[in-house]
Symmetry: C2
Subunit: 194 residues, 2 copies
DNA sequence: GGCCGCTAAATGAATAATCATTCATCTGGT
DNA sequence: ACCAGATGAATGATTATTCATTTAGCGGCC
């Protein structure tokens, strides 16, 4: 078996196990069992338990951010960009519930390492929003007195909170597209210049 | 020494220790030392480590929610209620940073017990918002097509995300009152009926 | 007032359980 | 026959929890 296969298998298993039990309560042997691999094998691919978590973030979240950027770039108007961002964010939570759960739960830990990591990755993501807002302001579409640094967090926070609701509930209580529309609308009206 | 003193002392110590090290990394002996009490004493007042965390939530967050409700009730218009809610939320994060940190980090754990607890306590809190929105809709101040269930989360999420920023940074990068104004404005415009 | 005896509260060393990590051994492919 | 990769039992460290022992406060008694 090619080594990359095992790496992948372990990451996938870890996503499930972390989502189910949380990072601290998850045992290496749980992940090993889920990946159908011996406990020790995990240490051939990862330095330690933490390293697994960080790898999950890096690889899975990295992919997601790249996809989002691409989608946003394809849209013409700032309004459309905001809408597609909201839709992509919420769809991801629905389609990849385990990962969403991990981001919701584990990326919030107060552990120093995670704290640092989170700052970087969150910034990269929410800065997509502030860039859109600045573009919109330059075009005179969004109000000048809106501070992109605050607005980006308000918008992200709103989406993130909806995600939390889904992660906690067995079934999405609202329709994804409706919700994305509703939230981006509210936000767009809130920062509109006319 | 009255027994209630010790209970209080342990809770206070736990808030600090949990905020600093996180629940899982915090040792009972850390809390005992911070409370100037023997390790075993803690078990005279709490059943186990988890019980300490839950007590922190119950007692401290309970107080906070009660205060918020009272403040909101004192305001006349739905707009003012929204504004005061935002201000109270952000002020609390500034004045009681350790507790805010614990709410941000530990109340998001994926542990079953915490998950359940969180549902209840968050609902109680965000329902303050949806009630305001419904009142506003009845008076014709807020748009009818806004769903209170979504809007309440969008608004709470926005505030929560600003809190996260402060918890992560050594100093609040924005002025509390400005931020509260900016966010409630954006939200109020976004749901306004005219 | 000082002295007992009693009980609740407090102590912290010892226990016991849990797991991350290691490493001596094995295996399948070439 | 070789060896990179895989194995999983054993190790060792960590800590939540327990409990035998100590301490402190208090009421009654001389």
């Amino acid at each position: 078996m090619k080594s990359s296969d095992k790496h992948e298998k372990i990451i996938r298993a870890a996503v499930k196990v972390f989502a189910k039990k949380g990072f601290f309560s998850a045992r290496i042997s749980d992940i090993a069992k889920a990946a159908k691999v011996a406990d020790g094998t995990i240490y051939l691919y990862f330095n330690n338990k933490f390293d697994i978590l960080i790898s999950v973030f890096d690889e899975e979240i990295g992919k997601f951010i790249a996809q989002t950027k691409k989608l946003v770039d394809q849209e013409e108007t700032p309004q459309k960009k905001i809408e597609i961002f909201a839709l992509k964010h919420l769809s991801m939570a629905k389609e990849n519930k385990s990962l969403a759960e991990i981001i919701q739960m584990e990326l919030r830990q107060s552990h120093k390492l995670i704290k640092e990591y989170r700052k970087t990755i969150f910034s990269e993501y929410v800065d997509i929003i502030s860039n859109i807002i600045r573009q919109g302001q330059e075009k005179g579409i969004f109000r000048e007195d809106v501070k992109p640094g605050i607005a980006k967090r308000a918008f992200f926070g709103a989406l993130d909170e909806m995600t939390r609701l889904w992660v906690l509930s067995p079934k999405p209580p609202y329709d994804i597209e409706d919700t994305a529309k509703q939230i981006s609308n509210m936000f767009l009206i809130g920062i509109n210049s006319k």
